[in-house]
Protein backbone atom coordinates (compact mmCIF):
# COMPACT_ATOMS: atom_id res chain seq x y z
CA UNK A 1 0.00 0.00 0.00
CA UNK A 2 1.28 3.44 -0.94
CA UNK A 3 1.17 6.22 1.62
CA UNK A 4 2.53 9.66 2.31
CA UNK A 5 5.66 9.57 4.46
CA UNK A 6 6.13 12.06 7.30
CA UNK A 7 9.03 13.20 9.40
CA UNK A 8 8.67 12.78 13.15
CA UNK A 9 8.17 16.52 13.48
CA UNK A 10 5.38 16.44 10.91
CA UNK A 11 3.82 13.46 12.66
CA UNK A 12 3.80 15.28 15.99
CA UNK A 13 2.21 18.24 14.26
CA UNK A 14 -0.73 16.37 12.71
CA UNK A 15 -1.37 13.19 14.66
CA UNK A 16 -4.84 13.23 16.18
CA UNK A 17 -5.70 16.67 14.84
CA UNK A 18 -9.31 17.18 13.80
CA UNK A 19 -10.09 18.54 10.35
CA UNK A 20 -13.77 18.88 11.25
CA UNK A 21 -15.84 17.76 14.26
CA UNK A 22 -16.16 14.19 12.95
CA UNK A 23 -12.84 13.46 11.30
CA UNK A 24 -9.29 13.43 12.54
CA UNK A 25 -5.87 12.47 11.26
CA UNK A 26 -4.36 9.12 12.10
CA UNK A 27 -0.88 8.15 10.95
CA UNK A 28 0.81 4.82 11.53
CA UNK A 29 4.43 3.67 11.74
CA UNK A 30 5.93 1.25 9.26
CA UNK A 31 8.41 -1.53 9.87
CA UNK A 32 11.24 1.01 10.17
CA UNK A 33 9.39 3.33 12.49
CA UNK A 34 8.71 5.87 9.76
CA UNK A 35 5.28 7.47 9.91
CA UNK A 36 2.76 7.23 7.09
CA UNK A 37 -0.43 9.08 6.32
CA UNK A 38 -3.07 7.44 4.16
CA UNK A 39 -5.61 9.71 2.53
CA UNK A 40 -8.05 8.76 -0.21
CA UNK A 41 -9.95 11.02 -2.58
CA UNK A 42 -12.76 11.53 -0.07
CA UNK A 43 -10.20 12.52 2.54
CA UNK A 44 -8.68 14.95 0.07
CA UNK A 45 -12.07 16.59 -0.34
CA UNK A 46 -12.53 16.78 3.44
CA UNK A 47 -9.08 18.26 3.91
CA UNK A 48 -9.75 21.10 1.48
CA UNK A 49 -9.53 24.49 3.17
CA UNK A 50 -7.83 23.00 6.21
CA UNK A 51 -4.29 23.73 7.35
CA UNK A 52 -3.34 20.09 6.72
CA UNK A 53 -3.82 19.92 2.96
CA UNK A 54 -0.05 19.79 2.58
CA UNK A 55 -0.14 16.18 3.70
CA UNK A 56 -1.21 15.30 0.17
CA UNK A 57 1.92 16.91 -1.22
CA UNK A 58 4.30 14.73 0.81
CA UNK A 59 6.44 12.13 -0.95
CA UNK A 60 4.79 8.77 -1.38
CA UNK A 61 6.35 5.43 -0.57
CA UNK A 62 5.38 1.81 -0.17
CA UNK A 63 4.18 1.09 3.35
CA UNK A 64 5.43 -2.09 4.98
CA UNK A 65 3.63 -2.75 8.25
CA UNK A 66 5.63 -3.52 11.38
CA UNK A 67 5.97 -7.13 12.41
CA UNK A 68 3.57 -7.67 15.26
CA UNK A 69 4.27 -10.01 18.09
CA UNK A 70 2.16 -13.11 18.43
CA UNK A 71 -1.23 -11.91 19.49
CA UNK A 72 -4.44 -13.50 20.65
Amino acid sequence: MIGYILTTKQYDQVQGQFINPYQFINCVADINGDYFFFGNEQDKESFKDTEYMWLFDLPQEEYIPPIQNEKP
Binding site: G3, N20, Y22, F24, N40, S46, P72
Partner: protein
Amino acid sequence: MILASSGIVASQIASFDADALAFFARVTAAGGSLTLSEKTATNQLVLDLKANSLWTPMKAIYPMVGSSAAACAQNLKSSSFTGTFSSGWTFASTGVTPNGTSAYMNTNINPSLQTNFITNHHQSFYSRTQTPSGNGWNMGVGFSTTGSPLFGLSVVRSGNSAIYDSGYYLVARSTSTQTDGRAFWLGHCNASNSRKFVKNGIVIATNTATDTIPASNANISIGALMDTATSSPNFFMSQQCAFASIGDGLTDAQASNFYTNVQAFQTTLSRNV
Protein backbone atom coordinates in the same frame (compact mmCIF):
# COMPACT_ATOMS: atom_id res chain seq x y z
CA MET B 1 -45.84 21.87 2.34
CA ILE B 2 -42.19 21.01 1.84
CA LEU B 3 -39.59 21.74 4.48
CA ALA B 4 -36.71 22.82 2.32
CA SER B 5 -34.04 22.24 4.93
CA SER B 6 -34.83 18.59 5.49
CA GLY B 7 -36.60 17.50 2.33
CA ILE B 8 -39.38 15.93 4.35
CA VAL B 9 -43.00 16.38 3.39
CA ALA B 10 -44.88 17.78 6.37
CA SER B 11 -47.31 14.89 6.46
CA GLN B 12 -44.37 12.52 6.88
CA ILE B 13 -43.17 14.22 10.04
CA ALA B 14 -46.19 13.03 11.92
CA SER B 15 -45.49 9.49 10.76
CA PHE B 16 -41.84 9.46 11.75
CA ASP B 17 -40.92 8.23 15.20
CA ALA B 18 -39.65 10.96 17.51
CA ASP B 19 -36.31 9.21 18.04
CA ALA B 20 -35.87 8.81 14.29
CA LEU B 21 -36.63 12.49 13.81
CA ALA B 22 -34.11 13.40 16.48
CA PHE B 23 -31.49 11.34 14.64
CA PHE B 24 -32.30 13.06 11.35
CA ALA B 25 -31.91 16.40 13.09
CA ARG B 26 -28.52 15.38 14.47
CA VAL B 27 -27.36 14.36 11.01
CA THR B 28 -28.50 17.67 9.54
CA ALA B 29 -26.96 19.68 12.37
CA ALA B 30 -23.67 17.87 11.77
CA GLY B 31 -23.69 18.93 8.15
CA GLY B 32 -24.75 15.58 6.75
CA SER B 33 -27.83 14.63 4.81
CA LEU B 34 -30.01 11.58 4.28
CA THR B 35 -32.14 10.55 1.34
CA LEU B 36 -35.83 9.98 1.85
CA SER B 37 -35.19 6.24 1.42
CA GLU B 38 -32.59 6.33 4.17
CA LYS B 39 -34.94 8.21 6.45
CA THR B 40 -37.80 5.83 5.77
CA ALA B 41 -35.62 2.78 6.35
CA THR B 42 -34.12 4.22 9.52
CA ASN B 43 -37.53 5.15 10.87
CA GLN B 44 -38.79 1.62 10.28
CA LEU B 45 -35.70 0.25 12.00
CA VAL B 46 -36.47 2.33 15.06
CA LEU B 47 -40.07 1.11 15.07
CA ASP B 48 -38.99 -2.51 14.67
CA LEU B 49 -36.39 -2.31 17.41
CA LYS B 50 -38.93 -0.79 19.77
CA ALA B 51 -41.56 -3.38 18.87
CA ASN B 52 -39.12 -6.17 19.70
CA SER B 53 -37.84 -4.73 22.98
CA LEU B 54 -34.49 -4.01 21.37
CA TRP B 55 -34.44 -0.24 21.70
CA THR B 56 -33.85 -0.09 25.44
CA PRO B 57 -30.79 -2.41 25.49
CA MET B 58 -28.99 -0.24 22.94
CA LYS B 59 -26.35 2.26 23.99
CA ALA B 60 -25.22 3.08 20.47
CA ILE B 61 -26.60 2.28 17.04
CA TYR B 62 -24.60 3.35 14.00
CA PRO B 63 -26.80 2.75 10.92
CA MET B 64 -24.02 3.99 8.62
CA VAL B 65 -26.33 5.96 6.36
CA GLY B 66 -25.75 9.27 4.63
CA SER B 67 -22.48 8.57 2.80
CA SER B 68 -20.48 11.01 4.90
CA ALA B 69 -18.50 11.08 8.12
CA ALA B 70 -20.88 13.64 9.59
CA ALA B 71 -23.90 11.39 9.05
CA CYS B 72 -22.30 8.04 9.84
CA ALA B 73 -20.81 9.33 13.08
CA GLN B 74 -24.27 9.88 14.55
CA ASN B 75 -25.73 7.51 17.11
CA LEU B 76 -29.33 6.61 16.28
CA LYS B 77 -30.15 5.84 19.89
CA SER B 78 -29.23 9.17 21.41
CA SER B 79 -27.03 12.22 21.23
CA SER B 80 -24.44 10.44 23.37
CA PHE B 81 -21.59 8.40 21.92
CA THR B 82 -21.32 10.33 18.69
CA GLY B 83 -18.41 8.77 16.84
CA THR B 84 -15.40 10.27 15.13
CA PHE B 85 -13.62 8.86 12.09
CA SER B 86 -9.92 8.89 11.40
CA SER B 87 -8.56 9.53 7.95
CA GLY B 88 -8.64 6.54 5.62
CA TRP B 89 -12.35 5.71 5.42
CA THR B 90 -14.54 5.55 2.33
CA PHE B 91 -18.17 6.58 2.80
CA ALA B 92 -20.84 5.27 0.43
CA SER B 93 -24.56 4.57 0.36
CA THR B 94 -23.67 0.94 1.03
CA GLY B 95 -21.77 1.71 4.23
CA VAL B 96 -18.33 2.69 5.47
CA THR B 97 -15.08 0.98 4.51
CA PRO B 98 -11.79 1.34 6.41
CA ASN B 99 -8.48 1.04 4.56
CA GLY B 100 -7.29 -1.78 6.81
CA THR B 101 -4.07 0.06 7.61
CA SER B 102 -4.81 3.19 9.61
CA ALA B 103 -8.56 3.81 9.62
CA TYR B 104 -10.74 3.47 12.67
CA MET B 105 -13.82 5.01 14.25
CA ASN B 106 -13.82 6.05 17.88
CA THR B 107 -17.25 5.25 19.34
CA ASN B 108 -16.49 7.05 22.60
CA ILE B 109 -17.93 4.11 24.50
CA ASN B 110 -15.63 3.06 27.32
CA PRO B 111 -16.62 -0.36 28.71
CA SER B 112 -15.23 0.40 32.16
CA LEU B 113 -17.71 3.26 32.45
CA GLN B 114 -20.71 1.09 31.54
CA THR B 115 -22.58 -0.62 34.35
CA ASN B 116 -21.92 -4.37 34.51
CA PHE B 117 -20.39 -4.38 31.03
CA ILE B 118 -18.41 -7.55 31.72
CA THR B 119 -21.56 -9.58 32.35
CA ASN B 120 -24.08 -7.69 30.26
CA HIS B 121 -23.11 -6.44 26.83
CA HIS B 122 -23.31 -6.95 23.11
CA GLN B 123 -21.51 -5.77 20.01
CA SER B 124 -22.80 -6.16 16.47
CA PHE B 125 -21.28 -5.56 13.05
CA TYR B 126 -22.92 -5.91 9.63
CA SER B 127 -20.17 -6.86 7.19
CA ARG B 128 -20.68 -6.54 3.45
CA THR B 129 -17.25 -8.00 2.63
CA GLN B 130 -17.05 -11.63 1.64
CA THR B 131 -13.35 -12.43 1.60
CA PRO B 132 -11.71 -13.19 4.95
CA SER B 133 -8.69 -10.95 5.43
CA GLY B 134 -6.53 -9.44 8.11
CA ASN B 135 -5.70 -10.61 11.57
CA GLY B 136 -7.36 -7.98 13.66
CA TRP B 137 -10.72 -6.95 15.01
CA ASN B 138 -13.53 -5.22 13.14
CA MET B 139 -14.54 -3.58 16.38
CA GLY B 140 -13.35 -3.76 19.92
CA VAL B 141 -11.05 -2.73 22.70
CA GLY B 142 -8.53 -4.66 24.73
CA PHE B 143 -5.02 -5.44 25.85
CA SER B 144 -3.39 -7.15 22.90
CA THR B 145 -0.20 -8.20 24.64
CA THR B 146 -1.83 -10.73 26.91
CA GLY B 147 -5.38 -10.76 25.60
CA SER B 148 -6.60 -9.95 29.06
CA PRO B 149 -9.11 -8.58 28.55
CA LEU B 150 -10.37 -8.32 24.98
CA PHE B 151 -13.85 -7.26 23.88
CA GLY B 152 -14.55 -7.35 20.18
CA LEU B 153 -15.59 -8.98 16.95
CA SER B 154 -13.42 -10.34 14.12
CA VAL B 155 -15.43 -11.18 11.02
CA VAL B 156 -13.64 -12.87 9.34
CA ARG B 157 -9.87 -13.11 9.74
CA SER B 158 -7.48 -14.70 7.28
CA GLY B 159 -7.49 -18.37 8.13
CA ASN B 160 -11.28 -18.34 8.21
CA SER B 161 -11.74 -17.67 11.89
CA ALA B 162 -14.59 -15.55 13.19
CA ILE B 163 -14.09 -14.42 16.78
CA TYR B 164 -16.15 -12.87 19.55
CA ASP B 165 -14.05 -11.78 22.52
CA SER B 166 -15.72 -10.88 25.81
CA GLY B 167 -13.01 -11.05 28.45
CA TYR B 168 -9.73 -12.93 28.85
CA TYR B 169 -9.34 -14.54 25.47
CA LEU B 170 -8.14 -17.90 26.82
CA VAL B 171 -11.37 -18.14 28.82
CA ALA B 172 -14.05 -16.01 27.22
CA ARG B 173 -13.39 -16.27 23.49
CA SER B 174 -16.01 -17.70 21.14
CA THR B 175 -14.61 -18.88 17.79
CA SER B 176 -16.18 -20.29 14.66
CA THR B 177 -14.68 -21.37 11.36
CA GLN B 178 -16.25 -19.25 8.65
CA THR B 179 -15.38 -18.71 5.00
CA ASP B 180 -17.75 -15.88 4.13
CA GLY B 181 -17.60 -12.61 6.05
CA ARG B 182 -20.86 -11.24 4.65
CA ALA B 183 -23.38 -11.33 7.49
CA PHE B 184 -24.81 -9.62 10.51
CA TRP B 185 -22.50 -10.66 13.34
CA LEU B 186 -23.53 -10.37 16.96
CA GLY B 187 -21.64 -11.22 20.12
CA HIS B 188 -23.65 -11.00 23.32
CA CYS B 189 -23.15 -11.80 26.94
CA ASN B 190 -25.82 -12.13 29.64
CA ALA B 191 -23.74 -13.36 32.57
CA SER B 192 -20.16 -14.07 33.59
CA ASN B 193 -20.62 -17.54 32.12
CA SER B 194 -23.03 -17.01 29.24
CA ARG B 195 -21.80 -15.76 25.87
CA LYS B 196 -23.12 -16.38 22.39
CA PHE B 197 -21.70 -15.61 18.98
CA VAL B 198 -24.48 -15.21 16.44
CA LYS B 199 -24.34 -15.01 12.64
CA ASN B 200 -27.51 -13.91 10.86
CA GLY B 201 -29.61 -14.79 13.87
CA ILE B 202 -28.15 -18.27 14.29
CA VAL B 203 -25.86 -19.16 17.19
CA ILE B 204 -22.51 -20.34 15.81
CA ALA B 205 -20.56 -20.54 19.07
CA THR B 206 -21.34 -20.61 22.78
CA ASN B 207 -19.00 -20.02 25.70
CA THR B 208 -20.01 -20.90 29.27
CA ALA B 209 -16.69 -20.47 31.07
CA THR B 210 -16.74 -18.11 34.03
CA ASP B 211 -14.78 -14.90 33.57
CA THR B 212 -14.99 -11.88 35.85
CA ILE B 213 -12.07 -9.85 34.56
CA PRO B 214 -12.52 -6.05 34.73
CA ALA B 215 -13.70 -4.30 31.60
CA SER B 216 -11.24 -2.38 29.44
CA ASN B 217 -10.69 1.27 30.24
CA ALA B 218 -10.60 2.75 26.73
CA ASN B 219 -13.07 3.46 23.97
CA ILE B 220 -14.36 0.75 21.63
CA SER B 221 -13.17 1.26 18.05
CA ILE B 222 -14.74 0.20 14.79
CA GLY B 223 -12.35 -0.88 12.05
CA ALA B 224 -9.64 -1.81 14.53
CA LEU B 225 -8.94 -2.77 18.11
CA MET B 226 -8.32 0.08 20.53
CA ASP B 227 -5.23 -1.46 22.04
CA THR B 228 -4.86 -0.64 25.72
CA ALA B 229 -1.34 -2.06 25.60
CA THR B 230 -0.21 0.85 23.44
CA SER B 231 -3.06 3.30 24.03
CA SER B 232 -3.59 3.45 20.29
CA PRO B 233 -5.62 1.65 17.64
CA ASN B 234 -4.06 -1.45 16.20
CA PHE B 235 -4.91 -4.64 14.33
CA PHE B 236 -6.86 -2.88 11.59
CA MET B 237 -9.39 -4.63 9.36
CA SER B 238 -10.81 -3.66 5.96
CA GLN B 239 -14.33 -5.12 5.88
CA GLN B 240 -17.13 -2.75 4.89
CA CYS B 241 -19.54 -1.96 7.72
CA ALA B 242 -23.22 -1.22 7.07
CA PHE B 243 -24.38 -1.22 10.70
CA ALA B 244 -22.85 -1.54 14.13
CA SER B 245 -24.19 -1.41 17.65
CA ILE B 246 -23.06 -1.63 21.24
CA GLY B 247 -25.33 -2.22 24.18
CA ASP B 248 -26.61 -4.57 26.82
CA GLY B 249 -26.82 -8.33 26.54
CA LEU B 250 -29.73 -9.83 24.63
CA THR B 251 -31.96 -12.85 24.99
CA ASP B 252 -31.99 -15.46 22.26
CA ALA B 253 -35.32 -14.13 21.02
CA GLN B 254 -33.97 -10.60 20.94
CA ALA B 255 -30.87 -11.74 19.08
CA SER B 256 -33.01 -13.44 16.46
CA ASN B 257 -35.31 -10.46 16.07
CA PHE B 258 -32.32 -8.13 15.93
CA TYR B 259 -31.08 -9.88 12.80
CA THR B 260 -34.55 -9.79 11.26
CA ASN B 261 -34.88 -6.06 11.92
CA VAL B 262 -31.40 -5.13 10.72
CA GLN B 263 -31.69 -7.31 7.63
CA ALA B 264 -35.01 -5.67 6.76
CA PHE B 265 -33.31 -2.28 7.15
CA GLN B 266 -30.50 -3.32 4.80
CA THR B 267 -32.96 -4.82 2.30
CA THR B 268 -34.93 -1.58 2.15
CA LEU B 269 -31.66 0.18 1.34
CA SER B 270 -30.75 -2.46 -1.26
CA ARG B 271 -27.50 -3.22 0.50
CA ASN B 272 -28.38 -6.48 2.21
CA VAL B 273 -25.99 -9.43 2.02
